[in-house]
Symmetry: C2
Subunit: 216 residues, 2 copies
Amino acid sequence: MTASRPAWSKRVHEPITSAELAERAATWAPLADDVRELVEATILSQVEPDVVAEVRSHIAAALDLLRKRTDTGSHGVHVNDDGDVWHWGNAATGLRNAIAPPMSEVSNADGRAVYEATLGAAYEGPPGCVHGGWIALAIDHASGRTAHIHAGGTTFTGTLTVKYLQPTRLGPITTRAWVAATGRNSFTVHSELATTDGVCATGEGIFVLAPWLRSS
Amino acid sequence: MTASRPAWSKRVHEPITSAELAERAATWAPLADDVRELVEATILSQVEPDVVAEVRSHIAAALDLLRKRTDTGSHGVHVNDDGDVWHWGNAATGLRNAIAPPMSEVSNADGRAVYEATLGAAYEGPPGCVHGGWIALAIDHASGRTAHIHAGGTTFTGTLTVKYLQPTRLGPITTRAWVAATGRNSFTVHSELATTDGVCATGEGIFVLAPWLRSS
């Protein structure tokens, strides 16, 4: 017997074509890029309080406009009849999520994936360096997606272990993940995160197939 | 012999009083809160492309204002002569960083720390649930700060292991961390992340004292 798929994992069907989806992406991606710049400028600016007040009035106007018609809760995962799957709110890769650097999937096939991202001021932990938690996040995301593609469906992270080898300077990072071992319903994925300084951290994750996909 | 402190770990001295620092916080914290709302609205809004264009013109104006006078690189860690230490760009807790939820430190003493945060649409991984990487980030931050306070100075994460017990629904989370074992220059910190559903993940981190703080 196969477990049933829980409500929270459901996908939202949208009656749009791939072409309409591309148009929608062209509307929202530039806005998210603007907001990414605003996040960084909010950290680094040195203007006076009266200028900050003026900035806030612009943001209030932007918020009023965006909230004229809005969803609630979260974005979730969407699909259409053309076979597209999109998750524009994803915290690591989301096209509409300004918290996502975003990590971009350079390749993901044959149990190996490569992701690239540029982590600026907003990703800081130790001065000038990437926050250790964001290193874990990049490794988790690359490893989880590798397991998902390899398994052909939803997997859950069981355990993730990250070893920190040296500080990771802010700037471009590359995260690689590959399936190291496959069990009946579980996968071990190894990974590494590198900058121009070399490998800064390595990861080992154990991922398990969603219960509703397991063979009985 | 003690290793020297590397350039990247340096703190920026600011000739301001605690009162002036509080005024500065009162200027920037509300702006970062506005930007957090904008991040979420950018994910959830359903307005038409012409409205998005209008939103972008407000954000462009805000960026122009903030960039009239700006720092470059990253915020770093600042100190003053009153003994205040602030890291407003920190990816987990930064008062000026809209990527930080922010996690707020409810307590941190005697080798035990408690952090609270509310993770909305921008922190999504599986539909309606917190991204596994953000769970690792919250555990890493709470554990690292606990080690830091316990050690009385900078520590580095050696290894962090996170076990995922159940999906973490978007919403309020509490992260607890405590020192489980202390060596000469290293500390083992255990942790857990909980929602109203109970404990969703546990962590074990090994933290090592910065080389320049170690006894020879």
